[in-house]
Amino acid sequence: MFNTALTWNDLLFLAQGAGMTLMVTAVSVAAGTVLGIVFGLIRVQCGPYWSAPLTFALDVFRSVPLLIQLVLGNALQSIMKLGWPPFTTSCVVLSLYTAAYCTEIVRGGIGAVPPTTRRAARSLGMTWWQDMRYIVAPLATRVSLPSWIGLTLGVMKDSALVLWLGLIELLRASQILVTRLQEPLFILLICGAIYFIISFPIARLGGYLEKRWSPND
């Protein structure tokens, strides 16, 4: 017979951790996506020469492990006496990390829209902005969506690293329970299941949107 010391309160504790994971992910992906769109547009419009400093900065965020970025970001805000709580620091660092990847996704998406299609739009008298809004954005979104879904799922799992700044998200909550109850396999199984439960709808949403758009392609 299977016995466990896990109580409903412990499950509630895990759920609260999952809530924190979702919160950090939502803020970081939202801010990172907005920044990624802005940076992606700058990279496309300004060309490789003028956007070289931005490209270099984003390469740093893509190349340095997230854990190091979180620790350095926390140290930096402390040195600069910004007084940010761990949640803010975590979201800022994760947003920049997300933006670095999202920039490339956006750039690739815009690049995938055939120049001839954009030229047809401009030939009808559309402005650059109208071309971007009504032609490029919908087409680039379709191309970018699978990568963006992958990025979101990746950030959700990477957000576990914010535990190093003291935030009690899902993995940290699991660790606390493991230490107290000494049932690592069972608790990590539950933790993994919760990660799956919150990731699965996002993955399916991507699949649904791809399928919905594909008949028109």
């Binding site: 001839t116 030939s123 009808l124 009504y134 028109n216």
Partner: protein
């Protein structure tokens, strides 16, 4: 009126247009023929400002297309262009493809834009395809949709850039019929084409381009039956 004065255009080292002089009057149908790389298509994209020119002038109804301060977006409303590749907007239905620019550029209401779009799509024989996505149509139908899309802006001039070149021979006829219809309605048109029979039939004048220069321009009967320039003769002999 479209006035082209001593227009030069290069892509890097490659000189594509070497001093083109040409005037197209209102209501005229001018056909441009010539070999690949002769500068025909480049001239069309220069006329509506999609490509800048190196020197010379292109004036449309008194507006210098390439002058500083010219509102190209406004100018393009009166110069429709249809390309070899129809460039449908794949995420929009046929009706939406045609409605988009009238709504967003001309500021028509949805009902007005729809009325215009339906009228133009009916005009080109696509009244049954309003809610279809472009990917579900043949190349000829997509090309006719592209023509309707340009016509929905009520342009005063239409530029056609080898609009039948990418089509299956079976589909060429339906697009040429649409162009014939427009010509008969008095639309001012510049057609770059390899369809000699069509050029002879609908044109007021035919221009022959060779290596960036306009080697010859004449009425179709004269150019096709008694070409003067040796390169025109060679080209026509090769196409017969």
């Amino acid at each position: 009126m479209i006035e082209i004065e001593n227009v030069h255009k290069s892509f890097g080292e490659l000189k594509v247009l070497k001093g083109i002089d040409l005037t197209v009057s209102k209501g005229e149908v001018l056909t441009v023929i010539g070999g690949s790389g002769s500068g025909k298509s480049t001239l069309l994209t220069c006329i509506n400002g999609l490509e800048p020119i190196d020197s010379g002038r292109i004036v449309v109804d008194g507006t210098d297309v390439h002058a500083r301060g010219t509102d190209l977006n406004k100018l393009r409303r009166k110069i429709g262009i249809v390309f070899q590749q129809w460039n449908a907007f794949p995420h929009l239905t046929v009706l939406e493809n045609v409605m988009l620019a009238p709504r967003k550029v001309l500021g028509l209401s949805k009902a007005e834009a729809e009325e215009t779009a339906v009228k133009q799509l009916t005009h080109v024989g696509l009244a049954e395809k309003l809610s279809v996505y472009p990917s579900r149509m043949s190349g000829g139908q997509q090309q006719r949709m592209a023509i309707a899309r340009a016509l929905a802006m009520s342009p005063e001039y239409m530029l056609f850039d080898e609009v039948t070149s990418a089509l299956d021979p079976m589909l060429v006829g339906e697009v040429l019929d649409t162009l014939r219809m427009l010509a008969s309605e008095g639309m001012t048109m510049i057609c770059v084409t390899h369809e000699m029979k069509f050029a002879r039939e609908v044109s007021d004048r035919v221009a022959f381009f060779h290596q960036g220069i306009m080697a010859e321009i004449a009425a179709p009967e004269q150019l096709f039956d008694a070409p003067q320039h040796p390169e025109t003769k060679k080209f026509l002999a090769a196409t017969h």
